[in-house]
């Protein structure tokens, strides 16, 4: 399977190099380019004076444009690439910016290091880079919880899902997935401004992540010390989560580390009651982030082995 080989190449390059800050400063990143496109459509088409159904239609139009345009380009490029190992290598190089193995690792390590030292303000600052929540009210357990939830969700969104679609459909698959996921993160919120306009983005993201999220949960469970128990907890708790997908990797990670995740959280001044995942366990501490990073590395390794095995088929 040429696409599996290509994805293995992409992972290998990203693990070795990452996306250097110097490149980012020069040309940004493919996801930031998609982000500019989404933002310009958001302020042109998502008009407050439109009715909710008009805004929903505009949201569908935006999804078609944001997913369709880059995916078509990727399909054309894929068709022009040669087959065989040369094709796998070139596809892998092009797909490299779309798997974020190294940056995820760096971002979570940046939270763990100050938190282990007891420097909560620095850890809060680091966690604000990876979560959309106001971190100023978080204590040690809160920061650790936010970092681990983000690790679980981003292992699915940032690594397993792009690789899954890349293996199935090649460059157009991974590009389409990144476009869908970026749309969801920018306009898929249930806020007055994006409830209608972001509806199509949010639903499509749920569909695109359905299988990858469950695979990620399975991978976390298999990488932990007690795989069977992990799977049992995942099957019991995953559906309690407000998101149809995020509960799977989160519950498996919670079980693997022996901590509880999700649960009540503060948004602005409101406390939103959410059920706990792995409710019987205690709150995570700084050391649990490091344990989470170890599990994450094992998941990446497992994915790498699987890709190579698929490539050899």
């Amino acid at each position: 399977m040429m696409f599996a080989a290509a994805m293995a190449v992409a992972v290998a390059i990203d693990v070795a190099l990452g996306w250097a800050a110097a490149i980012y400063a020069r040309i940004g990143h493919p996801v930031t380019w998609i982000g500019w496109f989404i933002r310009s459509l958001d302020f042109r088409l998502n008009r407050e004076s439109y009715s909710p159904s008009q805004r929903r239609v505009m949201g569908v139009v935006s999804v078609i444009a944001v997913v369709g345009l880059p995916t078509t380009c990727a399909a054309v490029i894929q068709a022009l690439l040669p087959g065989g190992w040369a094709g796998a290598l070139l596809t892998g190089i092009l797909a490299w910016p779309l798997v974020a193995v190294r940056s995820m690792h760096e971002h979570v390590v940046a939270v763990a290091q100050p938190l282990v030292r007891g420097d909560v303000p620095a850890a809060r600052h680091a966690v604000s880079m990876i979560v959309g929540r106001d971190p100023s009210v978080l204590d040690e357990a809160g920061v650790a919880r936010a970092a681990l939830e983000s690790l679980a969700e981003n292992t699915s969104d940032g690594i397993v899902a792009p690789l899954f679609w890349g293996v199935l459909l090649g460059l157009p698959g991974i590009v389409a997935y990144k476009a869908i996921n970026t749309l969801d993160s920018m306009i898929g919120h249930r806020t007055p401004r994006h409830e209608a306009f972001g509806w199509a983005s949010a639903r499509l993201d749920d569909v695109a992540n359905f299988i990858p999220a469950r695979l990620t949960g399975l991978a976390f469970a298999l990488s932990s010390k007690h795989p069977l128990e992990g799977m049992r907890t995942m099957l019991r708790d995953a559906r309690k989560h407000r998101s149809p997908n995020a509960g799977w990797p989160e519950a498996a990670l919670a079980a693997g580390l022996g901590v509880r995740l999700s649960g009540p959280r503060i948004y602005g001044d409101r406390i939103v009651e959410e059920p706990w995942l792995n409710a019987g366990a205690s709150d995570p501490c700084a050391a649990d982030i490091n344990a989470g990073i170890v599990l994450y590395r094992r998941v990446v390794l497992l994915a790498g082995i699987l890709l190579i095995a698929l490539a050899a088929l």
């Binding site: 933002r39 600052h125 604000s128």
Partner: protein, 331 residues
């Protein structure tokens, strides 16, 4: 009452003359205003509809190139008074010296307020305020630096009341950081301060909470009608930016001829070091030109830009007299 520009009452009390004789340069309000179109009767007789308000918000979003949440309010001042109530009082820091209503509104709502001189000192505050570009000294900070800062404070309020002439400084186009609020003034650049219109831009959650506080009719029907028209008029905006930039340089040349040194400013107002601000203010007042001086600075005087050519002529005459006076203080 706190000390402000726009206090023509005081000028009349101390120096006499009728209100219409004065050229009021004590604020940064554009003196060549947007031409107000004739309004439909319903602008005055009917309560503004939600749709009309939504259209004003769309017009603001377009004009400010943002996809953020937007709320129209009766001047940026109203937003300044509402924001302290968005979250429980805590420790606020304000980059100073600046427009003093921020500190006053926060203190009135129970916040502990510290005024700091450097951007870096704002980090760690529950709420931080930056006026960008700053009033009265015109200092400004790039958007990237402010976004960076916003992750190390609970909430960052960026008051962009004077940014319209230099839109490249505005954070509005990429306002996707949680806990960041941007204030825009309508009255200053469009020269319609009496209309009382301004905007708050921010996350849906924050803007929703502010909207609940502001109530169902946060601005008048007239403000909606004029605001929609003016914000969509790109030709006027471009021409006005060019004219203000040009006029600011012209005022600098006149002020420098009287020995004043430029100490800062934006194309809506200029700040000069005069050596003796009180004497300078009195000398201009003799010519019925009102200016702004500051209790914390002995030498600073701030002037808005004159409008019509007749006003420029009077300014030039006044400065001609100033230049012939002996210098009031050390340079």
């Amino acid at each position: 009452m706190r000390d402000h520009g726009g206090n023509l009452d005081e000028a009349i009390r101390c120096h006499g003359r009728a209100e219409e004789d004065w050229i009021d340069l004590s604020t940064g309000i554009n003196r060549q205003p947007y031409p107000v179109p004739p309004l439909p009767g319903t602008a005055w007789t009917a309560l503004p509809t939600r749709k009309a308000l939504a259209e004003l918000h769309d017009a603001a979003r377009s004009a400010y190139s943002t996809s953020a949440g937007v709320l129209a309010v009766a001047g940026a001042q109203t937003a300044i008074q509402l924001i302290p109530h968005l979250s429980g009082p805590g420790r606020a820091r304000i980059l100073s010296p600046t427009y003093n209503e921020h500190a006053a509104a926060l203190r009135a709502a129970g916040w502990q307020v510290d005024e700091v001189a450097d951007l870096a000192e704002l980090a760690g505050a529950d709420l931080a305020v930056v006026v960008n570009p700053n009033n009265p000294d015109g200092r400004s900070w790039p958007a990237e630096q402010l976004k960076e800062l916003s992750s190390s404070v609970g909430r960052l309020v960026v008051d962009e009341s004077f940014v319209d002439v230099t839109p490249q400084l505005s954070l509005a186009p990429d306002l996707d950081v949680p806990g960041l609020l941007v204030l825009r003034s309508f009255g200053k650049f469009y020269g319609l301060a009496g209309l009382r219109l301004g905007f708050v831009l921010g996350s849906s959650a924050d803007v929703g909470a502010l909207s609940a506080m502001a109530g169902p009719w946060p601005v008048s029907g007239a403000a909606i009608a004029i605001g929609c028209r003016a914000l969509a008029d790109r030709a006027w905006t471009t021409a006005t930016r060019t004219r203000l930039t040009h006029d600011a340089a012209r005022l600098d040349r006149i002020a420098q001829s009287a020995g004043w040194r430029l100490a800062g400013g934006t194309p809506l107002f200029r700040l000069y070091e005069t050596g003796d601000a009180k004497a300078a203010q009195s000398a201009l007042a003799e010519h019925a030109i009102w200016s702004r001086i500051f209790p914390y600075s002995p030498g600073w005087i701030r002037l808005g830009l004159p409008g019509a050519e007749a006003e420029w002529t009077r300014i030039e005459t006044a400065f001609g007299d100033l230049a012939s006076l002996p210098r009031a203080g050390p340079q």
